[in-house]
Symmetry: D2
Subunit: 139 residues, 4 copies
C-alpha cells in the first residue's frame, strides 16, 4: 500500500568473503539500511522514534533468498516496503538488485515486534499509524 | 538423522548494537560457526572441501526466528544439524541458546546449493554422501 | 600532493555497539570506503587493479585516533588522501567528521604493501605512478 | 607487570575477504576478545564494570601492525597485557599468532580513556587499581 523506497549502496571490501562475493549475513545489514531510509521516506526518523518515543522495532524473524552474488564495488539498489503493519507488528519486504543490470540479487522480509526500551511488547504510538498504513480504529 | 553438533561461543562487544543486544545479522555468523563445527564432527573439514575438491556450499536461503535477546559476554550454545541433504542441496538446522539458563535465543535454517569455484551448480563428490547422510544410489 | 577525496556515508545500526556509539573497528571499514573512492577520484578503480593487474594493496599497518563518538544515522564525511607513495608502499591518510557540525570524529592512516595474488611483494605497475604521485625514475 | 592472558579463537568465514585472508578491521575485534578475557584473568568482568560501576573504557587510539595473513578456520592465539595504566588511561598491548606454527600474525595496542555512561572522563574506581597494577597514592 505504501510507496516502496529505493536506496543505493556500494559493496564494501569488508562485506566480501573468501568466496569473492558478499557474505550472506551482510544482506541483513542492507535490509536495515533500506528500512531506515524507508522510514524517512514515510515521514519519520527511526532514530527519533527510538529516542523520543522509547519505542523500538525488535526483529522477530528474518528471511532472505539469495539469487545471484554481489561483488566488491557493485552498486546495489535496496527496495524496501511495508508488507504488513498493525499496532504491535511491522513486516518489511525487500528486494536487492544490481544497479548496472537490474539483476535481482536477493529478496526477503523481516518481522518486527514493537517493544519499549525494557524490551517489553507495547503498542506503537498512534502518530505512526497513518505513516505505516495502519487503520485508526477510532476513526 | 545425523548427530547434532553443539559448539560454544562468547558474545563479543562488536556483535552488540545500541539496543544493548546482539545485532540480528550476527546470528547468521553464528550459524556459520555452527556449520563449520558440524562438518568437523561429521568427519570432514569445510575448508579442505573448498580447497581440495573446489566445491562450495553457496547459501540460497536463510531463515532465523529471534526469541530472546543475547547480550555482551553471554555464553551461547549453537546446536547445528543436517536437516536435509541430497547431492545438490544441503539444508542445515540451528538452535541457539544461553549456556547459563538453556533459554532459547533463536532458531533457523540455511539452504545451500553445491557449486564449483565458478559458482556453477555441481554434484557433491561421493565421499561426502555417507558423511551427510545422503543415500548412495549405486549401493 | 594529490587532491584529497571526500565521501559521505550514513552510520548503520549494525555499526553501533551497546555503548550507543560506533564500534571502533568500523572506522577502519570507513577508511576502506574512503580509499576506494579516492582511487576513483585519482582515475582508477581499485577493483580493476586487483582483477586486471593482479596487484593488491595489502594492509601492513593501521592507526586510528578516536576523538568524538559517531552515532546511529549520523552522516559522516570521510576525507582521504595519499600521504606517501613509492612503487612498493602506499600510505593513505584519513579524517572523518560529522557532516552536520564538521566536528572531527577520528583521524588516522593505513600503510599498504604492494603484493601479487600470491601475497608476494611486487612493484606497482608504472601506469599507477602518475595517479599516485610517484615520480617516474626513467623520466 | 601484570600477567599476559592468552585466549584462542577460530577464524570465521565472515571474517575473511575476497583476498582470501582476514579483513584488517577484524584484528581490532580480536583485540576486544583478548581484552575481555584479560579482565577476567585479572579478576574482574568488563561487563560488570560497565553495569555495576557505570564506567567504560572508551577507545582513544588503536594501532595494529599486520605481519602475516590469517585464513579461514585457522586457530589464533590472542595474547593481551596491560601496557600502561593510571586512573584515567589504560593501554593494552596485543600479539596475535597462529596456534599451529606460532607464527606472529599481528601486534598492536589500544589506548582507552575512562568515561562514565554520559561519555565524560572520570577516574577509575579504586578497587580496580590493584587489578590493573595502578599504585594506590594513599598507600
Amino acid at each position: 500500500m505504501n510507496q516502496p523506497c529505493e536506496t543505493r549502496l556500494r559493496v564494501r571490501y569488508a562485506e566480501t568473503d573468501r568466496m569473492g562475493v558478499v557474505y550472506y549475513a551482510n544482506y541483513l545489514v542492507w535490509m536495515e539500511v533500506g528500512r531506515v531510509e524507508l522510514c524517512k521516506s514515510l515521514g519519520f526518523s527511526y532514530r527519533d522514534m527510538e529516542v523520543d518515543d522509547s519505542v523500538q522495532l525488535a526483529v522477530a524473524e528474518s528471511y532472505c533468498r539469495y539469487k545471484s552474488p554481489a561483488r566488491f564495488d557493485d552498486e546495489v539498489i535496496v527496495k524496501t516496503w511495508v508488507d504488513e503493519a498493525n499496532p504491535r507488528v511491522v513486516v518489511f519486504g525487500y528486494e536487492m538488485r544490481l544497479a548496472e543490470s537490474d539483476r535481482v540479487l536477493a529478496s526477503g522480509h523481516t518481522r518486527h515486534i514493537v517493544v519499549n526500551s525494557a524490551m517489553q511488547t507495547v503498542r506503537l504510538p498512534k502518530k505512526y499509524y497513518p505513516l505505516l498504513g495502519i487503520p485508526d480504529p477510532t476513526a
